[in-house]
Amino acid sequence: MARVVLDPTAETAPATRERTPRPAALTGLTVGLLDISKHRGDVFLDRVAEHLTAAGHTVARFRKPTFTKPAPIDLRHEIATKCDVVIEALAD
């Protein structure tokens, strides 16, 4: 005899979204640099920004209010609107 149990999960596989194709080169693209507000993440991003700027690329800087929470929706929207690619710095 078949036994039945009830599903304890959300019953929703996470919506899969296609990633934007990785660009072959950064020429003419805007690179977003997202600081998650963790200690010394800015040190890494400052250096990355130096390199990118020296190579003639456009850089835009962003910062999460706190590393312990997801980025606010407005910030995510702003990054998606202004940037073509994003580099996010974790730290520790």
Partner: protein, 353 residues
């Protein structure tokens, strides 16, 4: 003989188990457990669990991180069955899920952090006696069904409904055993103080859960101190090491005061507020001891703070609870996690029907 409950109103997806499938193994294989066996959530068991609350099965209790999923009373009940709860525990589990999923408690961050912390559930009020929770001997340990399964049910909701699993969004470096379950009742009857939930604004006749983002408890022995001052000095010295000996202002702590230590505070006439104030006074630390390199420890605060005095804990960062067996001049310290708006603050929620 119990009458079969009505299972026709249940909305969760029904999963058929194969005739030759072992029930316990089937739960593991579907990823529904925390590593320990669970009770298979048959429709009959879930319907019986729902008799523990007056709330409608389809009512939304909370939006559960990390996947931000709306969680119904029925889904909480299914996970309470998995955890081994009795129906009368369900209102406590519902309150714990509500408290965990607030922006103030920040369950998302608590789950994702590399730190050890887990939601510690402190239960107060008449329901603790009604459902037989343990606030006495071995209060923080094993052996009491309500303590064990209420805390476990909360973790299973985060795992199964929210999708928060170790190695995925849960990035803890080491974790700790309290991530299976960490729930206990305050001993209100023997306490020298008003119950914790009353200190936090609830009425004594109400029941409530208070969630704290805690690591494992660590022991604190002081067997000779017979004045509140002596004990406060010991407590403060031990509290100074929370997160690290030179960490300041960024972390909270929960102090579980045992009956023998509590008796000393009672005899000295110290209220809970007085104890917290006295601990805070003893934990104003000279910057010279905290700057990077001091004491041969690289960790520390910026050298510019050398001539300042810095409190170990932010204002309101110490919670004091009374629990434990009658023998032992031992209390416990439960270190917290990133405090305040940047991380998590304790949250108290009244237990409904």
């Amino acid at each position: 003989m119990t009458t079969d409950p009505d299972t026709t109103t249940l909305r969760a997806r029904r999963v058929d188990l194969g005739a030759s499938e072992d029930e316990a193994e089937a739960m593991f294989e579907r990823g529904w457990t925390d590593g320990l066996p669970v009770v298979p959530p048959t429709p009959e068991r879930v319907a019986r669990m729902l008799t523990g609350t007056t709330r409608a099965p389809d009512e939304i209790v909370a939006v559960v991180p990390p996947n931000l999923v709306e969680c119904s009373v029925e889904k909480v009940a299914i996970n309470a069955v998995l955890a081994g709860c009795r129906p009368e525990y369900l209102p406590v589990v519902l309150a714990a899920v509500e408290a965990a999923c607030t922006d103030t408690f920040n369950m998302h961050g608590l789950l994702a952090t590399t730190w050890f912390s887990a939601p510690v559930v402190v239960v107060n009020g008449p329901i603790t006696r009604a459902i037989g929770m343990n606030s006495g001997v071995n209060a923080l340990g094993q052996g009491n069904r309500a303590n064990a399964t209420v805390g476990r049910a909360l973790q299973l909701v985060v795992r199964n409904v929210g999708g928060g699993r170790p190695g995925e969004v849960d990035r803890a470096t080491l974790g700790q055993p309290g991530k299976y379950t960490f729930c206990f009742a305050e001993d209100e009857v023997g306490s020298p103080w008003e119950p914790l939930h009353v200190s936090r604004g609830c009425a004594p006749e109400e029941s409530a859960v208070t969630l704290f983002p805690g690591e494992s408890p660590r022991g604190l022995a002081d067997q000779l101190g017979r004045s509140a001052d002596h004990l406060a000095n010991s407590f403060a010295a031990a509290l100074r090491t929370v997160w690290g000996p030179k960490a300041v202002i960024a972390f909270d702590a929960l102090v579980v005061v045992s009956p023998e230590h509590a008796r000393v505070f009672r005899e000295s006439g110290w209220t809970r507020a007085r104890l917290v104030e006295e601990l805070d006074n003893r934990l104003q630390i000279p910057g010279a001891e905290l700057v990077r390199g001091a004491g041969g420890i690289a960790e520390g605060v910026d050298p510019s703070l050398r001539d300042t005095t810095i409190p170990k804990f932010p204002p309101g960062g110490l919670l004091v609870v009374h629990a434990g067996g009658g023998a032992g001049f031992f209390s416990a310290i439960v270190g917290g996690w990133a405090a305040g708006a940047m991380g998590s603050d304790p949250v108290t929620r009244v237990v409904g029907d």
